[in-house]
Amino acid sequence: MKFDTIIIGGGLSGLISGIYLSQRGLQCVIISSGQSALHFSSGSFDLLNNLPDGTNVQKPLDAISELIKQAPTHPYAKLGENKFKALTQQAEDFFKNIKISIQGNHEENHYRVTPMGTLKPTWLTLKNLLISENGKCLPIQHPGIFNVTGFLDFYSQFITDEFLKMGTKCSIHSINLPALENLRKNPTEMRSVNIARIFDKQENIKELVQILKAESKDCDSIILPAITGLNREDVVDYLRKEINKPIYLLPTLPPSVPGIHTQQKLRSVFQQNGGVYMLGDTVLRAEMKGNRISQIYSFNHGNIPFVGQNFILATGSYFSQGLIANTERVYEPIFDLDVTFTPNRTQWYNSDVFESQPYQSFGVKTDNTFRCMREGKIFENLYATGAILEGFNPLKEGCGAGVSILSAMYIAEQILSK
């Protein structure tokens, strides 16, 4: 199988680089070993919330020079200040182009609402999700929070109490209809996605409208858990039109309906542009010629190799086994690339789970164009992007999605400019 670019990993960074390249006429394949972390997305993409030293960041563009000083191997530092700025704008345009509606921009962080009801700074938030511009108050005064009866992954009480601290007084309501009763017979499958499937059906949406109308008389707006919009995007718009009130979604615990919808949307854009997406296959090994990767072999395709000009490694961190840790070391399983980590495993962790965990900053070493290396020698046509990269802490710095998106676009540019 011959392709221009072979992308290993089908999550956010793999898909973005794949779309970017295939939009510009390159024949790409994505090989993905299972579904991606977008399935647990909050519905927002963070760019930069904190510097490595813990300083809060409100305007990411202003903080980037300080970040480069503090963390020279940070992916953003490799991009450099100007490229970082240019790419953030490009990323926003990119989403608009492929018709993923977003709120927010790179000038200043806005705030998303967590499933706990608290606010957290972020860069871009998918449409229909509730946000706060200033991090102090919400755009609504008396919302009604409607949860599905028996849905255990959404917490109306937590949200109500947190909102009250910001001057927003919620009323709590519940939703039930026969289709949900049927789902509830199963003790575990009352999950966001299964509920969303119910609310993909027009007859159920109509019933939902009746419930919301009847119960929201004293509410200035309606809040729902993100349990709509799995296969159709117009549900919230339809509800708004029928009820004539602002309607917002809040993220739930996994699986994340907005995240899955985004994943599916990105994948379909990639495929519409001629990309081949191979799900559920694992890349096993690679063959090299000199300092170039020539072809790779996967489990499903056995002795039929993937032959390509360029290779992008977007396999993620530990979760998706882009990185593997054993008692001795942290390694990259496909190419055995150089990985930055501390040898003594006692130094991988902090005993307080909410403190910075060093293991989260381990990753593959790259040069400033994100080319990977083995024993210090650079592979000319192998690039790494996203969570597998070294030098950043996605949670503490609030930059995971930003690193994935920006590094993916940057690599795509490098490949195109060759």
Partner: protein, 541 residues
């Protein structure tokens, strides 16, 4: 701190909510004694909840300590009867590996027989047929009546029975002072950690059943008990690799017992002296993890490929005999001290040493002494009366809740015995699972929250196994916290603070073994709680 003037009087005050304390409360209340049990944290938080959960046959002690062995086998047989829902009758094997001296086996069997323990030498091939996870290279095997016992359930059932017989059980009450009148102890002052109040309770007899912490309790009245904290580390594996307890047939050493317990199995222990300052902060070191794994793999090689869920350590209260201040001759036997005769202080008793297996016997001896002091002649019934949960057969209970989904039904009956039909409303809402790994339903959690003295998520875990499965709370912690706040058991601020401490408590056991899939689980959990939910340690404040 508020000083609360309200005081209450009892016949006896028991300090310590481990198995022993709970057992004494049960025994006392059944003998008609007005009983108060005080625990500074939750029940079974000390050594009770941090051991193998092995229902010793006594075989392990047969060669070195005949007295302990005899006590064990007697109590073993009693527990099978009175606590059937806390016990699994798995049997045990004592395996000789090629590196072990096979001559120890005959010595071992003879000692067992002398102590009244059925010990039967079986063909290694037969042993492998019975327990396929055992090392294929074993050269000898002895079958003994070991089993598994769940210490959390055992303690909770004792507490439940005590309450049914009128005892008062108060958790999160730390004794800060023992009130004395000349040479008599007459009560205690406690700090109520839930309300931050100081309270006083009075009784003519106060029992110190604080395990290793009893050392400090005794110090409150300037009594020195020569205790030696001995740390024992264990590893919990993700599923049961064995269904029969595996032991090494050699002199007791590190990591020579592998016990199947509920959904998991655990290997232990190590043994090392630790200073008193550390007993509240046990950490498992990489060296201990390595020893446990290396030795564990020898008994059951499959452990090399089995996911480790967590590592933890408990502290054994070893007591040096009074005439040996050096602490060299420690006993694992029961130590019952009447401080009236030992130290001239009336109304104060210390019960310590012993082991989980002999908790009931320790309670019986202690209660006998309490009765003597109170001039009562009631007799002990704890060896014959079944504990709540163990009074009906599994088949009978199963019939009562037959429409609960099968895996859930089996799990709840396993955990709660005949109490399982009390909490099942058996509606789809109540049957929804909070914890999917361990099959804990909303109904079960509600029951625990309403009736089993649960104050926070960690207590809830001890009563139900929420968060004790493969994901270690990743999927269920938030659901449980949400349920607690929905039921108005705690305010949402507390619920969130609870969530952070729950996750930290889980992490404490995970990071010593966080590689491979466990590290993947940790990373994923961090994404969910720190990333998506935005929890931070400052949410505590």
């Amino acid at each position: 701190m508020k000083q609360n003037e309200i005081t209450q009087s009892f016949d006896v005050i028991i300090i310590g909510g481990g198995a022993t304390g709970a057992g004494i409360a049960r025994d006392c209340s059944r003998r008609g004694i007005k009983t108060l049990l005080l625990e500074r944290l939750d029940i079974s938080t000390g050594a009770t909840g941090r051991n193998h959960g092995l229902l010793h046959s006594g075989a392990r002690y047969a060669v070195t300590d005949k007295e302990s062995a005899e006590e064990c086998i007697k109590e073993n047989m009693i527990l099978r009867k009175i606590a059937s829902h806390c016990v699994e009758e798995t049997d045990g094997l004592f395996l000789s590996l090629p590196e072990d001296d096979l001559s120890y086996q005959s010595k071992f069997v003879e000692a067992c027989n002398q102590a009244g323990i059925r010990a039967e030498i079986i063909d290694p091939k037969e042993a492998l047929r019975l327990e396929p996870s055992a090392n294929r290279n074993i050269i000898g095997a002895v079958r003994v009546p070991d089993g598994a016992v769940d210490p959390f359930r055992l303690t909770a059932s004792n507490v439940m029975d005590a309450k049914l017989h009128g005892a008062t059980i108060l958790t999160y009450q730390e004794v800060i002072k023992i009130i004395r009148e000349q040479n008599r102890v007459i009560g205690v002052k406690v700090l109520d950690h839930k309300t931050n109040e100081i309270k006083s309770y009075y009784a003519p007899v106060v029992v110190n059943a604080g395990g290793i912490w009893g050392h400090n309790i005794a110090k409150l009245v300037d009594i020195n008990i020569n205790m030696l904290p001995s740390k024992g580390a264990l590893l919990i594996f993700g599923h049961r690799v064995n269904n029969i307890v595996l032991n090494r047939c050699r002199k007791p050493a590190d990591a020579d017992i592998l016990v199947p317990g509920d959904t998991i199995c655990l290997i232990g222990t190590t043994s090392s002296k630790v200073p008193f300052e550390e007993i509240d902060h046990m950490r498992v070191t990489p060296e201990e993890v390595d020893v446990l794994l290396r030795e564990g793999e020898k008994m059951a090689p499959i452990l090399a490929q089995t996911r480790i869920l967590r590592a933890y350590a408990g502290v054994r209260p070893l007591v040096a005999s009074d005439n040996d201040p050096s602490g060299r001759s420690v006993s694992r036997g029961i130590v019952l001290l009447d401080h009236a005769t030992r130290d001239g202080l009336e109304g104060f008793i210390t019960i310590t040493g012993g082991k989980l297996m002999t908790y009931r016997l320790m309670a019986e001896w202690t209660t006998d002494l309490i009765c003597k002091k109170l001039n009562l002649s009631a007799i002990c019934t704890t060896a014959t009366e079944k504990l709540p949960g163990s009074r009906e057969s599994i088949e009978e209970i199963s019939k009562k809740i037959i429409s609960v989904p099968l895996t859930q039904r089996n799990s709840t009956i396993y955990r709660h015995g005949d109490m399982a039909d009390r909490f099942s409303e058996n509606t789809p809402l109540d049957n929804s699972l909070i914890c999917e790994c361990e099959e804990v339903s909303v109904g079960e959690a509600k029951y625990a929250l309403n009736e089993l003295d649960v104050n926070n998520l960690i207590d809830l875990r001890r009563r139900t196994r929420i968060g004790m499965g493969t994901c270690q709370g990743e999927l269920c912690a938030c659901r449980a916290a949400g349920l607690m706040s929905d039921m108005k058991k705690i305010c949402t601020n507390r619920a969130k603070a609870d969530l952070t401490s729950f996750l930290n408590e889980r992490w404490k056991g995970m990071f010593p073994i966080a590689w491979g899939d466990t590290l993947r689980e940790c990373e994923y959990t961090a994404w969910i709680y720190e990333g998506v939910c935005g929890l931070t340690s400052s949410s505590k404040k």
